[in-house]
Symmetry: D4
Subunit: 255 residues, 8 copies
């Protein structure tokens, strides 16, 4: 409930159009947040910009179609289904024949608006095995309206591959670094750039990588300032956060 609506009700009372009991009921029925969080509404409007997102893993078979349909009804923006298998895609496609599937990113897109791409997000990976997580991040950012550049397979064991490509970082508003095994790439990129770096540890590796724990600890202990970390394999979270940072940088400059 916006302030305007509240005033409207109150004016209605004054004018006798609204009964006191009815007004109390309407005020009470509104979710708390709609009264007290007027300021947050603006936030939520920002969010409406964002694609709606469904995390497919663990959803019982046969339910994805109807979940997507209900989302499509309450929003006019793009809809993303992340961690989606081929089977999930077949299921969704029955309801939405024009659904797209990005197998590398494991994302299904119901594309319903095309946003202009602004700013610059760079997504970097240490190895080729980190690419699915990186593509998840890159796709989320792109569909949310950010220009994304990819720089894959530039891990620290061949640091010159990274160093000979540093021009890609020029003008970047935020860099997403996706790496498994020892995860050292985040520190190096953090030392090269001066925009925020979002580090995504991946569960790529074996032995004492302990399912991504090694890369996670490395990234948390990064001695390069300006680096923050999201959960292991959380490409979506990184892409979303990159979107927030990039939009703020890009958007605030609008005349």
């Amino acid at each position: 409930m916006r302030r305007e609506e509240l005033l409207e009700i109150l004016r209605g009372i004054r004018k006798g159009r609204v009964g006191v009991e009815e007004a109390a009921a309407r005020i009470a029925l509104e979710p708390v947040t709609d009264l007290g969080f007027a300021n947050l509404d603006q936030h939520r409007e920002l969010r409406k910009d964002l694609p709606e997102v469904v995390y497919c893993e663990g959803k019982p078979p046969g339910t994805l179609g109807s979940i997507a349909r209900s989302l499509a009804e309450r929003s006019t923006g793009n809809i993303l289904l992340t961690r989606a298998s081929e089977e999930a895609y077949r299921e969704v496609k029955e309801c939405f024949p024009d659904a797209e599937y990005l197998p590398l990113a494991r994302i299904i897109v119901l594309r319903r608006e095309e946003r202009p791409k602004v700013g610059k997000v760079v997504v970097v990976t240490g190895g080729t095995a980190d690419i699915p997580v990186a593509e998840e991040a890159a796709t989320v950012a792109e569909i949310s309206g950010n220009r994304v550049e990819r720089l894959f397979d530039v891990g620290v064991a061949g640091i010159h591959r990274l160093l000979s490509r540093t021009e890609v970082f020029e003008g970047a508003k935020v860099v997403v670094v996706v790496a498994g095994m020892e995860g050292a790439l985040a520190s190096i990129v953090g030392g090269l750039v001066s925009c925020p770096v979002i580090a995504v540890p991946t569960s790529v590796g074996y032995g004492a990588s302990f399912g991504g724990l090694s890369a996670l600890l490395t990234m948390l202990n990064s001695c390069a300032p300006g680096v923050a970390v999201v959960n292991i394999d959380n490409g979506f979270g990184a892409g979303y956060l990159a979107h927030l940072i990039n939009q703020a940088s890009a958007g605030s400059g609008r005349p």
Copy 2:
């Protein structure tokens, strides 16, 4: 070395003003990065904006004064000494009688320029014991030229304390959430705001908090998107990252 400088040297050769050997030496003497990383120089200029920082813990007694003096010589900006004890302060004060000490933030400041405060960074803590880490973050951000608002002791056990103060988040470009024990505050703030949230787990707690591990895991697993995590007790890192994000948002809008 900028492209202009390089061209200048080359033109000097052509014109006979510069000898070939001398030119080679000048090119070779430049650090590698100055040739290949022209783009990064702009970054470094941004960085020069930043205060120089010394991490005091573990530095042998008697060395802080000279470290600070050498920093003061090569830079004209503010100088911060973090994790500084009272003793560290006495040591630095001998060399810099106007050094300030912020005991809560455990920071010594050699203030040599005053920056205008722009944008808005909100620093939130769960409890009172998290305040030293929060003050470290807030101080780093403030001295770097960011407007900071503090909202302390609004932990989740009394969620209404937080909810009755949500107007503080209005207009925030970035929120830093500092919390120990179960660290749940980051998720809640992440669900309330739509700007980036930097979560700082603290080692506050006992028993199964395991020196901050509990809060760290909570924050990494946050189901609110837009949250990224820095190392346990890493107030400096959070303040620095908040500065990067806030400046980009605020600065890009300059006419």
Copy 3:
């Protein structure tokens, strides 16, 4: 052996109806607990109220039917088989054609008595993926004779969902909070209500959730007092404990 029985035997000796050796043998043969634990018998009678419970996982195929039959013989109450697969159900159904299967709760019920539902237990989940564990808890409580209300998918990332529904907690004698990922919901509910809160971490999540460890630590470190924790995914344990607390609250008021 109750005190009365013991006295009876002793009187029999006095009266010559019972030989000394026979009396010693009868006293010695009684299990220890029957002498020393008279007070516990009343407890066990309380327990007889409870459904008999079989944990199905890991039981060899083909044995569930006979286990259930033997339980049905020694008790007249309801019988629950938890962590039951569809296959387990088919197996049990052959012996008990009227066995019910609650697939969400993964529980098979052999319903043989209907208890009045008293008091009020609220079962809350953070996400939809936590529902199976929550349903296990809710079902155990319901079948044991407790009124249960469910409030699912009110995780902390959208805290207003929870806050707009707080009336559900009115009159609750105990709240069961089921949450995976960061598990912060327990702290928030603990801060909202003043009855006991039983927190159930779930293994829902990925990456650094480490199979429920993250949620478990969060809940143990809850800064809201009045929260206690059961094992990861232990819906049964939470439902049982909720029953004990709710019955005590509800029952002690009987005239």
Copy 4:
């Protein structure tokens, strides 16, 4: 803001006593919780029954007196200062000369009301080294108005010590089990009684007890149903929860 107050404001508008803008402002100014959480107020009233509590550890020297004084001003109930050292006591005693110190429980009490002791809480420890944590739990419960019985040093290595004393559990509404090292006592008590059991792992032990982790895991994995766990060494939490459960059992029976 209670429903009555809201109605009052609305009636004021109707009657022209209150302006629309003023009403909107008054509604908006009220903390969210006072509108939406009417039901919670009753909870908070229950809580006011409870002693106010200060966790002393980590509080800077010289602050405890003023903290206690400010608590004493806003509440008329008892005030507890937990984890209090002798020094903390001396500090508090200067402001409150009649402050009591319970060195075993490490609690300072500002006793300002005497509550009748109702119900029955049993506090059990495995060893003598667990007694400080147990006394913290027992003291919190006693001062909150619960009858407490102690059964200390009945660890499982001499199980007969426990078994010969089982009559202490008769009539208990809740049992608090405090144990370090292997923490097995919680399972055993859980198997003996049918009321809720609150298990408190302690950091007592050495080697692979890993600061209480061993006891914590044991208690979480208890195969006795009806057992829930609080944080390592968290005597206060256990005492508080025991109070909630015992009061509900005892209180609901009042005519």
Copy 5:
């Protein structure tokens, strides 16, 4: 090589019966252990008493038959194949048609001698799910010539089941306690008996049992003296060690 043999060779040189080169070769050819470990030979003779043992898990299919055959050639005692699946049994049965399979213990026995059963080993389990590990221990002990009594499913949640059966421990030379989940049974048995207790944690459990870690830590931290622990699920190791202890107790008394 015993001292006598060495002297014999040396005397042979002196007497010219043995050439210097030949003597050097004989001394050098003797495995190191045969010179320095004369005392160990007697040990190895003791060991020959024991069944030969093959750990089947991880052995490539098709190799078990030949491994068993080669063992059968170099030894006349019983041969055990532990952790054996039904398939392993079929494979072995082709070579040894009279091989027995004990599916509960997952052991294949090639029985070639029958030993008298001496002494008394008691094998106890907490639950029914621990029985496979317990049967592995019991079978190893029985086939090695020890009298074994089983006491299964006497876990601590129903401590009276154990206490009413304590006569089984009379005369025991060693007790093997097999338990998963919280593993508390080892401490209780350790407090009841005065012979050595071998504790075997099992991976039975879920959630925070962490694959047996919980039971392992519990058992290591047992406050009952006289308890030692083997690896998680290591029934064989426990049975073997029980054999060593029981034989020593039983055997040393022979006239």
Copy 6:
């Protein structure tokens, strides 16, 4: 209560010497264990052989004297105080001027009987830093009446030191292996001897020894059968268990 006593009471009833109520009271008053655990009494008699033991660490200053005195009153055997500092010794010495202090083993002995040393226990250490734990084990065993041989500082990095001394294992009934760092010594000794091996991991080491965890895991995973493990630094537990095994081996041979 022994069977004889029970019969006596029952006969008293028959003869009228004892009233029925009085008999019931006397039977009920006896601790449970005295009725049901007749068989365990013999065990406890065995135990009376053992020294009484006090674990000094964590005991408040000024209490050791009275604890020792109370033990001395209820037992005539030797009394050991383990983990005793020099200060603890001074405290005890005031009450017991003839108390001995073994600083290496950190044990205070109140020697009140001299037992013949039987059998053979070998105590081995990997390094010199493991000696305090080893001496604790050795002292406990010696004072309990076992012949102990020490073989210190024979760690695996210089395996020949161990191999050149293997004659020390001849005739050993049990070997205690005390080692920190990598703890490999237990496996090697386990491969050399055929009597039971008790492995004691120590917290000696640095870095990734993690307070004894490394040695603990090594010992649990020993591929040598016949090895069981006690808690980190638990010299007392190892010495006690060695006593049980050695006495059984030695004692059962008595004519």
Copy 7:
């Protein structure tokens, strides 16, 4: 770009042969590494000696053939595909009919040059289950041109097996020790030889071996100097490092 090349360009400017812009472009276009890393080129030449290596696990089906083909085009040396399944082999064989498969080492070799075998690398395993990892190490070393001797199944439980074979270490330039379970073998070999020892923990084991963690910690804590550790199951890494060390020892002596 070597200094000579840089000078050449500069001279070209002076002489008017090269335009300033063109020179700047050529200098800027050179990858950073070609200017600053002249010294590393020699390293890379050394590396060209090595086989090219592909880690097969996790590569999507159908891609191995083309990866191998592209490697074969840019290099004339041997090509190894590690962690290769039978299916991977079938895939590669279609492109390279003469590809060899070493199933024990799980390596596919495209052999295109035969190197002389120099020096001496010894590869030792604790058990037979460690052989695949050991064969991976041995094969990598052999194909890279090192003489390899294998000594398998000499684990510490039967230390005499190792000790009777110590002549195999004579002349070794480096020893690779591959062991799971308790991993103690590395310490023992480290104590026997004076050349570098590379320890490879394997995930062989069960229970508290925790997927190789136990062996890893053991090896890191080895009290034998001269031992360094690679990742769990990292046979390739050990073989490669052994190659580096052995070649340096062997090669530096060439006239």
Copy 8:
């Protein structure tokens, strides 16, 4: 005992110069290894080259002097005392007035021979706080006769510092990388050089560095081949291993 010596003794018997008993005694007195490990003797001779080493930490005060003296008697080489405090130095200086103390490396040297420095070992650190561990490694290598170059404080956050100094790696036979926090430096150096890299994680860091665990895992998971890891803070072990590798490379080339 070498074969020659053995033959000499045997010939002595034949010739009557040596009695049989005396010969047996001499053969038996020789440590086992001297007979069976002839090949190892050469190793030990190599080792005699090495300084004798004492690990000071944990040695009781007052014993270092006599330990050093006994070492000085049995060896003529240099003697190192590692992890030595100033106090340790004072203690040793009383016995050896010319003892040197290297406070950064925490090493006391009793220098008794000067070895020529051969080959090239590079020791690199990430930060200044890693220098003590690096100096320990460098000092051990230098005193053992290796040429050492230091490159300190070139951590990955400022990767250009490292890259502008790569010429230091030219000709290196082995590189020791010492780094705490995220430990990424080892991977980068491993990607730059082609000689073996010994990685030493340090306990430098805070928060989630967990006492060096983070750096340790990073280094173990290095995706650069040719990297092996020693224990946390184990500068001595790294220096010793570097010595072995460097000497082999350097020494084998001697004419």
